[in-house]
Structures are given as C-alpha cells and as structure tokens.
C-alpha cells in the first residue's frame, strides 16, 4: 500500500511539472476580482491613450497616418494665422478662401477621426470578445514604456531646468536669438516651426538624421560647450597637468594628526609603518586641527581617476577619450577634476619633505557608466560606454 502511495505521489509531482512547463499560468484566475474589474474598466481609456501616444511617437503600423495628421495641423495653423494683418494682406481673395477651406477640412478631419476612434473603441469592446487580463497588462506595460521613453528624452536629453536660476540663464541666453528670429520670421512661421519640430521629433527621419549628426564630433563639442554655460557640471581643468606639490598646496582635504612623543625617534620606514598601523587606508581619520603647526603630521590623499572609453568596432576599452569629457587621468582636487599624469609618473615627482604613506597605489574596481558618465554598475554591459577606476595613495609630512 505504502509503495503504491509513494508511486502515485511521484506521478502527481511529475504531472504537475509538465502542466507548468512552457506555459505561464493565466493572470485571470490569479488576480483579485477588484483589480481585474478596475483594469477592465480602464481598458478603453488605455487603448485611446495608447493610440494617441503611437501617433505622437510615430509607432503606428501605418506610418502615413501621423504624417497626414501633421499636414492637417499645419493647415489648421495656416488658417488660424489668416487674421494676422501682415499675412493676410498679401493674399488674394481666392488664396484666402482656399486657405480657409483647407484649414477647415483639416480641422474637421482631425476632430472627426478622433471622435470616430473613440466611438469605435467603445463599440468594438462591446461587440467583440472581451479582453483577457493578459491583454490589458501587456497594453498597460507598453503604455508605461512609451511614457518612460518620452520622459527620458525630454528630461535628460534636452535642457535641464531645475531652478529659477536656470530659467533666468536661459532667458538671457535665448533673448538675442529670439530677437533675431522675430526680425526675419512671422509669428505664423515661428509657431509652425515649433509645432512641426515637436511633432517630428520621434519620427524615424528626424531620429536618423539626428543620430548622423551626433556622430560628428563638432556637433558634440558645440552641444557640450553650450551646455556647460548652464550647468555647473564638475569643472574639469585640462591644462596644465597638475603635479603633486601643487596638489599639496591647493588641497583643502589635508588632515593633521598629532605627532606623538614615541614617533619623534622614528624616521623613514619605521614612522611610515607606525602611521599605517594607526591609520589604515580605509578608515576615516579624525584630524586635530585645520592649520599646519609644529608637532603635527599632515596627511594628504591622492585620488586619481583612470578613465577609459569603449570604441567600436571591436568593443575595445582604450584610454582614448573625447575632447570634451574627462581626460585619461585626473585627480580630485577640492571637488573638481584636474588632469594629471598617470599614477606611476606621479610616484617619481613627489614633492620635497613629503613621503608616501601607503606602499603602493590601491585601485578600486572598474565602475562602468554610460556615454554620459552615469554609473551603471560594476560589470560591462551593452549600455556601458565608459569606465572609471579610482587609484588611491596617501602622503604625509611631518611638521617638527
């Protein structure tokens, strides 16, 4: 009896495994009815919103449709500008009537295609098979993805405006441009240009042209130089290459520790070992004073960044970097980055009276980041285009 029982249990296990194999359980039965009902009621709105997003992002099956809508919008703007005195004076009556008629037809078609879409969505949902929960969730996720894409592009790719100060800066920067534009453009052309640009941004033509331009180094340099006016990015000083004595002079991160009585007899390696015992590299050191005075030991830490970029076609990491970004090696100095020599060359040019506290440079792991130096993680991935390794080493000087 027990034997057969065991066999049957085994079989049951086996069949259960087969049942789940290769197929996901349907969401419908696994979900609370409260949530399913709300999602079901939400579905038509999702479809309508998704349709609108598709048109904005040029992701329809029929790519002509957004284009037609764009033409219609252009016609409508044309019609609206008709009462502008400057624009209408040059036109004949016939031209005026044709502009009016085209604009009106455009408006009517836009309006009715929207109405028709909404009505048919509700009708189809009524008439045909109701959606499954999986359908709804898939649509929901696609809508969220699209919103996220728009968000990313608007917030990170264009102007970063966070405070009133940014707005003020932009106002000062853009006013001359606006003035020049307004001298040569009518309001109609200006509005038309802005609207068409906004509508076209996500189209494949615009995107591919944009990418082609982005490959030109001059474009990037221009973009980042304009950007650097507005953003207080960490300023990078490219030249001259800073040497250790200058660092020691300029840094504000020097820590002063007491030069205790037992140490007075020590010198060279012994003193270094004693200090290492007292202050290991990874510990935070609490200094005693801010200013150098007799009877203290000054400790400085050199933090050198080693930067690399991944280059196509072989995806090789090379220390070759673009002119507007971080240099190959740079040292952190009072919150800024300053170009410097490699750590090994640094080793030889240590200033007088200063001695190395650590025996060698202590590297960190590579930190991988995207093209904009936003850190992604510690492993290489498709997204990663740059990486940084941080070398640390400390020096000390005794004030007797």
């Amino acid at each position: 009896m027990s034997n057969t029982g065991g066999v049957s249990a085994e079989y049951r296990c086996y069949s259960k495994f087969i049942y789940n194999h290769g197929q996901k359980p349907s969401l419908t039965r696994a979900t609370d009815s409260k949530i399913s009902s709300v999602l079901h009621r939400f579905y038509p709105m999702l479809i309508i919103f998704d349709g609108a997003l598709n048109n904005i992002m040029w992701m329809c099956e029929d790519i002509c449709l957004p284009f037609i809508y764009m033409v219609m919008i252009t016609l409508v703007i044309d019609m609206l500008s008709l009462c502008e005195t400057s624009a209408s004076s040059g036109k004949s009556v016939f031209g005026k009537i044709s502009t009016l008629w085209l604009g009106m037809i455009g408006f009517v078609v836009l309006l009715y295609s929207f109405l028709y879409y909404v009505v048919t969505v509700y009708q189809d949902l009524d008439q045909y098979e109701p959606p499954t929960l999986d359908d709804i969730v898939i649509l929901l996720e696609s809508v969220i993805d699209k919103l996220e894409t728009i968000r990313k592009e608007t917030v990170s790719r264009t102007l970063r405006i966070r405070t009133w100060l940014d707005v003020l800066k932009f106002a000062i920067f853009l006013t001359p441009i606006q003035y020049v534009l307004m001298r040569y453009l009518s309001v109609r052309d200006y509005a038309l240009g802005v609207v068409v640009c906004c509508l076209l941004v996500h189209s494949i033509w615009f995107q591919s042209t944009f990418r082609l331009f982005w490959r030109v180094l001059a474009t990037r340099i221009a973009y980042f130089s304009v950007l650097s006016i507005f953003h207080d990015r960490k300023q990078i000083i490219y030249s001259p290459l800073i040497d250790p004595s200058t660092v020691n002079e300029k840094t504000s991160a020097t820590i002063f520790v007491p030069y205790a009585q037992p140490m007075h007899k020590m010198s060279g390696n012994k003193l270094q070992l004693e200090l290492l015992k007292l202050y290991p590299l990874n510990n935070v050191i609490n200094g005693i004073s801010k200013m150098p005075c007799p009877g203290v030991i000054a400790i400085n830490i050199y933090i050198v960044h080693e930067n690399q970029r991944k280059w196509k076609p072989n995806n090789v990491w090379e220390p070759k970097l673009l002119p507007y970004e971080k240099p190959k090696y740079c040292i952190e100095l009072n919150g800024h980055l300053n170009a410097c020599k490699s750590p090994w060359e640094y080793q030889e040019s240590l200033a007088e009276d200063w001695e190395w506290l650590d025996d060698c440079w202590k590297p960190s792991e590579w930190a991988y980041s995207d093209s904009d130096w936003n850190v992604i993680g510690h492993n290489d991935s498709l997204e990663a285009y740059t990486r940084t390794k941080i070398w640390r080493r400390r020096v000390f000087k005794v004030f007797k």
Binding site: R29, V38, M104, V119, T154, M182
Partner: protein, 514 residues
C-alpha cells in the same frame, strides 16, 4: 518598542501562511515594503495604521507581481491624469483652478502674437521646466510607496472622470459621425462665408475651446438645459450637425414603444383580440434609402436633413438589418424570429409588378434589386433608373413572433390559428407546434406561390414608429375577420399623421443628467 516587535512577529506568521494559497508568485518584496511602511507608521500611532495595513494585505497577496509592478509604475501617471481630468471636468472641490485654466486659455489665444513675439522662447523653456517639475513630482510619489488600494482608488477616480469627459462622444454611433462629416463637408461653403465675414477662425477657436473647456461646469450645464427648452435651438442644432439628437436612444425607443403596445395588447384593455399566451406574429419592415452622389454612385450616405439610410415606413430612423436586434423579453414575453434572415420585398409593397414566375421576396438580392427611384426630393417615383433620379428605396421584411414564456402549460396554443384554443394540453405538445411553425414559415416564404404565406394562418404586419405606435396591418385574406385590428390600425395611423414632423420627437440627449 516591545509592542511593535511582537506585532511584527504576528504579522510575519500571518504572511508565511498565505503564500500557499496564492497562485500569483513571489511578492515577498512587496510585502516587505508594506511592512516597512507599517513599521514606520506604527511608530506614530498604533491602532489606526494597523487596521489599514491589514486591509491592504489581501489585495497585495492576491495580485500577481506582474500586475502590481505595472500598477505601481502607472501610479504617478495616474495622479497626473487625475489632476488634469479634475481640472477639465470641474469635478474638484475647488473650481478656481478650472476657472484659471479657462482664463489662461482665453488670454493665450487673444494675445497669441504678442506672447509669441516677446516670450516665445521663454514659453518653450517654461514648458520644459514644467515637465521636469512634473517629473520630480512623479519620482517623489514613487518614493512614497503607494499601497495597491491607493492605486486602485486613484484609478477608479480617473475612470469616472474620463467617462464623464467622454460621455458626449460615446453616445454617438459610428454612423452618426459619418453623417457629421458628410454634413460638414456639404455645408463647408456656408461655413467659409461665415468665417470670412462674421466669425474669423481665431474667434471660432476661442469660443469653441471655451465651450469645450466649460462643458462640464455647472453653469454650462444649466445654460444648456435652459437653451434646450427652446425649439429654435433644437432645430438649429439639428440642421447644423445633421444629427437627430433626440434619437440617441433610438433603438431602445422603438422597442420601448413596441413593449408598451404589446402590453396593451396582451392585457386586452383596448379590446384587441389577443389573449394571454398566444404568440403574435409581427412583420418588421425596414426601408433602405440610398442617394446617388456624382462620381461615386449609389451610396447609403444621405443628406443631413433628409431621411436616414434605414427607416421604418414612417421615415423614422431605424437600425440597419445587421444591427437590428429583437427587444429583450419583457415580463414573461419572448421575441423570436420566424424568418431566418431579412428578405427583400421584390414588389416593394406592391409597387413593382412581377411576373408570376418570380418569387415575391428573396433573401439574397442583387445590389440594385427591388428599388423604386425618386428624384432629388423623393418625388416622382418610377421603377426605372434614369439620369434625373437621385434617390431610391427598397423594402426589407422579416417576421418575428412574440409569445408568453410564463404561461407554458397553462393553456395550449395552436399557433397556426389566430383563434384561441382553450383546451388544455401538455407543455411538450406546445413546443412541438412551435418548432413546426418556425420551420414551415421560411419554407413558405421561399415558395414561389405568394398565397402560401397566408396559408400559414393569420399574419399581421407591424411597423413601429417612434411615437409609441405599433402598427398592425392584417394580411389581406384576414382583413374581414380582424376588423378590430383594422380599427386599431386606422387609429394608429391617425396618430402617426398627427406627429408627422420628425422634428417633434427631437429630445435632448442628456435631459436626465442635466
């Protein structure tokens, strides 16, 4: 402190039990975040927060992680949508933001040139700034760890408001919009003249926009209901939009009338010959109207002010055969089709002379069969198409019967005769007789012999108008036996003529709401 720790232990024990019952998958993460939140809140005040946390747990555990993840991501967007919809539908407690929105719109439109010339660049910067503020807000709400109940609640709010916003659109049918488009295209020269001399497009956009933005505001609703009381306004709207706005619930309207009449008939209050339980045959009649458009040919698109493409015989709009559904059963009555399909009346109600070899009705006619042609104003009917003919119509019929379902077994019904048989019989027998009728009638219709239809017994043809009338026409052979019905018919016809003008039945679409 000890208090919170015991509580924590309690809940943990609860949650460990749960996962066995749920099918969704692993939600430990979600639960942990919920618990973290609860811990935080329980530091403040103990009892209230405990209650809410317990309420939220069933939803959490019974929702698959795919859904809860998507919902959490959707939440910030939902909040933004909710705010926007509140503004537009004027449903917030504070209506001042909505008023501000309208004022902003008006200013923007009135001073568009000046704003663009002097502040165009700033407007763009401001838009991007506003967007990044919104984005910051979104990030903050995501960090506030909403519960699923919060999300569902917000979602419900969004749905209600969006429904409110879309309700004027969703009552329309696709056909209405096609009609709309046609009317507008047809009347566009008039509109051009209006915009050229009276109302420039900018002003039109101003008024139209303000109307749309304030559509859901309380004042606008009151004004609309007030205006709707004037017949002139209704007429104007009918002619401008080409939409019979009284007919939004048209299909139901027809059948409501049918039911009313049927009730009257079955109770026998007006002396009709129908007693309880006897099936009544009705022949539904639909007229298909078409208009010829130059260069396109015959289409079902009609002008806005004339009859619809599908009407009953009193020119009231009716659903097309594809959409024509029998009304739902009412108080123990059941509608059932006798004919399998809609059949074209080849004689067009006796107007077309057919050779005796041809059948009078057919289920699959050619596109041009059975039409009577009229000129542009539906006059001068002929059976032949010619160049001066711009309209045409033909007649479709289908027979249905109405029977009592509640009276099964109480009295036996002989469906082949119009006279009530009072002898009691079995339920079984009745069903058999029902079936035989359903099968014989279509057969008789396909027969070439026109008289075979009358052989199945008394048949009454009924057509329904919107003015609460059932029109019962006794078939020719039975005319002498059913004098009562003839009277009824005459009576109804009189009513029809008195309300001939279709505009009289225009009703406001949202009277009940306003």
């Amino acid at each position: 402190m000890a208090d919170t720790s015991t509580k924590q232990r309690e809940t943990r024990a609860q949650f460990v039990d749960e996962p066995e019952t749920r099918i969704g998958g692993d939600t430990t993460k979600v639960i942990r975040s919920a618990m973290k939140k609860r811990q935080e809140s329980s530091r403040g005040n103990n009892n209230d927060d405990d209650a809410t946390a317990i309420v939220s747990s069933p939803l959490l555990t019974s929702t698959p992680p795919t859904i809860s993840k998507a919902l959490v991501k959707l939440y910030p967007h939902l909040i933004v949508a909710d705010r926007f919809l509140t503004l537009v539908t004027w449903s917030g407690e504070d209506i001042w933001p909505s008023i501000l929105m309208v004022i902003l719109y008006v200013t923007l439109l009135l001073y568009f040139e000046k704003i663009t010339t002097y502040f165009g660049h700033l407007a763009i910067v401001a838009v991007i700034w506003g967007y990044s503020l919104l984005d910051k807000h979104v990030e903050e709400t995501l960090n506030s760890r909403p519960t699923l109940d919060d999300i569902v609640h917000t979602m419900k709010g969004v749905i209600t408001k969006a429904d409110m916003l879309l309700s004027p659109i969703t009552v329309l049918s696709a056909q209405d919009i096609r009609k709309f488009l046609f009317t507008t295209a047809f009347l566009s020269p008039v509109y051009i003249i209006i915009t050229l001399f009276i109302l420039p497009p900018r002003k039109f956009l101003l008024f139209g926009g303000v109307y749309l933005l304030t559509y859901n505001s309380p004042w606008s609703m009151v004004t609309r209901t007030l205006l709707w009381r004037f017949k002139f306004v209704r007429l104007l709207i009918f002619y401008v939009t080409g939409l019979d706005s009284g007919g939004i619930n048209k299909n139901q309207g027809i059948f409501a009338a049918v039911q009313k009449q049927v009730k009257k008939l079955s109770t026998g209050s007006d002396g009709a010959t129908v007693e309880d339980g006897k099936p009544i045959r009705f022949t539904y009649v639909l007229y298909e109207n078409q208009r010829r458009w130059l260069g396109i040919g015959w289409t079902s698109s009609m002008l806005s002010y004339e009859r619809a493409s599908w009407t009953d015989e009193f020119l009231n709009e009716a659903p097309s055969p594809d959409n024509f559904k029998l009304p739902e059963e009412s108080s123990g009555m059941l509608w059932k089709w006798v004919d399998k399909t809609w059949r074209l009346d080849m004689t067009n109600d006796g107007a077309i002379q057919l050779s005796s070899a041809r059948p009078k009705t057919t289920a699959s006619p050619n596109a041009d069969d059975g039409f009577i042609y009229y000129d542009n104003t539906w006059k001068k009917p002929t059976t032949e198409d010619s160049f001066s003919k711009y309209t045409r119509r033909r007649r479709w019929i289908r027979t249905a019967e109405l029977m009592k379902t509640s009276s099964f077994g109480l009295d036996e019904i002989d469906t082949t005769h119009n006279v009530v048989d009072n002898s009691s019989g079995s339920n079984h027998k009745r069903v058999v007789s029902q079936n035989s009728v359903a099968s014989t009638v279509p057969k008789s219709e396909t027969d070439s012999d026109p008289d075979s239809a009358t052989a199945t017994g008394s048949r009454r043809r009924v057509s329904f108008s919107e003015v609460d009338n059932v029109h019962i026409i006794p078939s020719d052979d039975d005319a002498d036996t059913d004098t009562d019905q003839k009277d009824l018919k005459r009576h109804n016809q009189q009513e029809d003529y008195s309300t001939e003008n279709p505009l009289d039945v225009v009703r406001p679409p949202q009277d009940s709401k306003g």
